[in-house]
């Protein structure tokens, strides 16, 4: 996991560093803000991963390991299929058309979106 954290750490520091260099070369505000915020956002991601994973060892990072040592862990729950993603997507697409063609479409879209959100949450719990 060190590699992942380092990857995002370097990317984040690079963004901030280049942003600072950019400011003192060009004094251009738009690009400076974009670069520095990009660096900060990437650092935040790296920090979150670091906090969640530091001090733990992971079988995928082990140089030599046998499958028997790692057997039995449940990696996660992989659903067989779900209606809610496509319903949510339809809600989003219909809803944004509502911003163009009329509030009634926006309402329909939001309703579908809400329905899908509830559906997804219920699925997760079950």
């Amino acid at each position: 996991m060190k590699t992942s954290v380092r990857f995002m750490g370097f990317a984040g520091l690079f963004g901030i560093g280049i942003g600072i260099v950019y400011w003192f070369i060009t004094y251009e505000p738009f690009g400076t803000v974009l670069l520095i915020l990009m660096g900060v956002a990437t650092l935040i991601m790296g920090y979150v991963v670091w906090r969640r994973t530091s001090g733990k060892s992971f079988p995928e990072d082990a140089d030599t390991i046998s499958y028997a040592e790692d057997a039995g862990d449940e990696i996660g729950h992989f659903s067989a299929g779900s209606l809610w993603p496509v319903v949510m997507a339809i809600g989003v697409v219909v809803g944004v058309e509502g911003l163009i063609y009329g509030v009634w479409l926006l309402v329909a879209g939001l309703l579908l979106f809400a329905w899908a959100t509830v559906g997804l949450m219920q699925e997760s719990r079950g």
């Binding site: 996991m1 590699t3 992942s4 990857f7 995002m8 370097f10 990317a11 690079f14 963004g15 280049i18 950019y22 070369i25 060009t26 251009e28 738009f30 690009g31 974009l34 670069l35 990009m38 956002a41 990437t42 991601m45 991963v49 079988p59 995928e60 990072d61 082990a62 140089d63 030599t64 390991i65 046998s66 499958y67 028997a68 040592e69 790692d70 990696i75 996660g76 992989f78 659903s79 067989a80 299929g81 779900s82 209606l83 809610w84 993603p85 496509v86 949510m88 997507a89 339809i90 989003v92 697409v93 944004v96 058309e97 911003l99 163009i100 063609y101 997804l120 699925e123």
Partner: protein, 556 residues
């Protein structure tokens, strides 16, 4: 070594046939990968049809095959299709299918979000094409959509708004998929699959995902501000009220430049997986390649205003310098690929042909890119057909060729049968020759001053012959694409079984059956390098004795 190593399965699970509901509700990464591939193929044909219309219109001077209105919509949607609906999503689709397989995972980290991503992409694409039916027709501000041209005063009509909304949906889908890919790669690798043993397609998809995460939000912001200007009385981009037209360019290109690397890095990864297989050697300089990809990604965030050299309001030397620097890691990759082939034992099945074509084409795109990176030279070439030729060489001659390499390489794994080699080779040659005949003349005509996005030109401009040659070349290219479609049809009819590993490849996806079962693996070889399947298949006699020859035995 390992305590229990069971054998690769000898029985092949039956493929599940999905009905319509099955496809609409699937959350399996392989089927979502198929959804991406199928949809992007349709969009590719649509975008190609638009390109055909453009090439017919420009084949001779003063043609009126297309009116100005039609022409402007067509080149806008052609660019939008190829950028947002074909090249980038194919990368995500192949990543969806193969990243979990390449790292030994049973699926992506968030299967339902994965499905949401593909449906948002499809919905956004349909929205953009539906806009042709709106009252003012489709958007016609160019795929770059500069303000104030794209503002309501100059581009009234719902078509422009539908473009904005479609792109916002697609952007959201891409961001969700990028999150999914990063989480999957970080947290779901099989035991022993350290980051530095991952295949380079997976590495590049990880890096691409980070680029997507930092590049798409500024685009969404740019378009949201535009929509506010258009409909809610905003003046972000109107200078008369204190806004800035240059702001749009900064926001757009801060996205736009990483976007072109999003459209190229996945395909560098494919080529880097394929060339070692057909050279019978490991990739040369694995670590250098990974670091070069990271350098490209990082630098790509700092060069956006090389698309703005002619605005007169940015610091040209900074962006020239950074843009020149990007040439260095890209060059390193070329040496990785050449170093892999060097002293290898090369065979030229269709996937390898496409890789060679990629190398030859992308070099031209790359060298002309370095020329464009020089701001004074860009003063001459910006917005001329020189840039059009450059971008098509890197995205068409580069990414598209690498995509074909990936499809020919992975088709046996995805379906269990092979694509026809003979048709494949004919298709390659028609595409390669047709592509170069179409786009090389555009360099010539760009240097003679032909600007982009013009609907016609006069016979006295001196631009006629290269344009006619380009249109002829396009028809040759078309034959190549048709041959690909023919190959699909013929191969599906013939169903020549491919087996689990027809290419003697090394990465994990080749450890499972063709096609893979639902949760991908019933058996994994030990992972000790970046080519675990190769290591397993070519293990020494001593190792075989220690483990047992892999037929249900257990070792020490």
């Amino acid at each position: 070594m390992s305590a229990t190593v069971t054998a690769p399965p000898t029985e092949h699970p039956k493929a599940r046939r999905l009905g319509l509901i099955g496809w609409l509700t699937t959350t399996n990464h392989k089927q979502i990968g198929w959804l991406y591939l199928g949809t992007t193929f349709v969009f590719f044909l649509a975008g190609g049809l638009l390109a055909l219309m453009i090439r017919i219109q420009l084949s001779r001077p003063d043609m009126s095959f297309l009116s100005r209105q039609e022409y402007n919509q067509i080149f806008t949607i052609h660019g939008t299709t190829m950028v947002f609906l074909v090249i980038a999503p194919i990368g995500l689709g192949l990543a969806n299918y193969f990243v979990p397989l390449q790292i030994g995972a049973p699926d992506m980290a968030f299967p339902r979000m994965n499905a949401l991503g593909v449906w948002l992409f499809i919905g956004g694409g349909l929205t953009i094409y539906a806009s042709f039916l709106s009252s003012h027709g489709a958007a016609s501000a160019g795929w770059t959509f500069y303000a104030p041209l794209s503002d309501s005063q100059f581009s009234p009509g719902a078509g422009t708004d539908m473009w904005i909304m479609g792109i916002l949906c697609i952007s959201t889908g891409s961001i969700l998929t990028a999150v999914n890919l990063m989480a999957t790669v970080f947290m779901m690798r099989a035991p022993g699959m350290t980051m530095w043993r991952m295949p380079l397609f997976t590495w590049n998809m990880l890096i691409t995902s980070l680029l997507i995460l930092v590049a798409f939000p500024p685009l969404a912001g740019a378009l949201a501000l535009l929509f506010i200007d258009r409909h809610f009385g905003g003046h972000f981009y109107t200078p008369a009220f204190g806004g800035s037209a240059v702001l749009y360019q900064h926001l757009f290109w801060f996205f736009g430049h990483p976007e072109v690397y999003i459209m190229v890095l996945p395909f560098f990864g494919i080529v880097t997986d394929v060339i070692p297989v057909f050279s019978r050697k490991p990739i040369f300089g694995y670590a250098g390649f990974v670091l070069a990809s990271m350098a490209i990604a990082g630098l790509s965030m700092a060069v956006w205003a090389h698309h703005m050299f002619t605005t007169g309001v940015i610091d040209n030397p900074f962006f020239s310098g950074m843009s020149f620097l990007i040439a260095v890691p890209t060059g390193i990759k070329f040496f990785n690929w050449i170093g892999t082939m060097w002293r290898g034992k090369l065979t030229f099945e269709t996937p390898m042909l496409w890789c060679i074509g990629f190398l030859l084409n992308f070099l031209i795109g790359g060298i002309t890119g370095v020329m464009l990176a020089s701001a004074p030279i860009d003063y001459n070439m910006n917005n001329t057909y020189f840039v059009v030729a450059h971008m098509h060489y890197v995205l068409g001659g580069g990414s598209l060729f690498a995509i074909f390499a990936g499809i020919y390489y992975w088709f046996p794994k995805m379906t269990g049968f092979r694509l026809n080699e003979r048709i494949g080779k004919w298709g390659f040659w028609f595409t390669f020759i047709g592509f170069n005949l179409t786009f090389w003349p555009l360099f010539v005509v760009g240097l003679r001053g032909m600007p982009r996005r013009i609907q016609s030109y006069s016979p006295s401009a001196g631009w006629t012959d290269p344009n006619t040659l380009a249109t002829i070349g396009f028809f040759v290219l078309l034959v190549g694409v048709i041959l690909f479609a023919v190959n699909l049809i013929v191969s599906i009819r013939t169903r020549e079984p491919a087996g689990d590993n027809p290419w003697d490849a090394g990465t994990l996806e080749w450890a499972t059956t063709s096609p893979p079962p639902e949760h991908n693996f019933t058996w994994l070889p030990p992972i000790r390098s970046e080519r675990p399947v190769f290591d397993w298949n070519h293990r020494s006699d001593a190792e075989k004795a220690a483990i047992g020859d892999g037929h249900g035995g257990s070792g020490s």
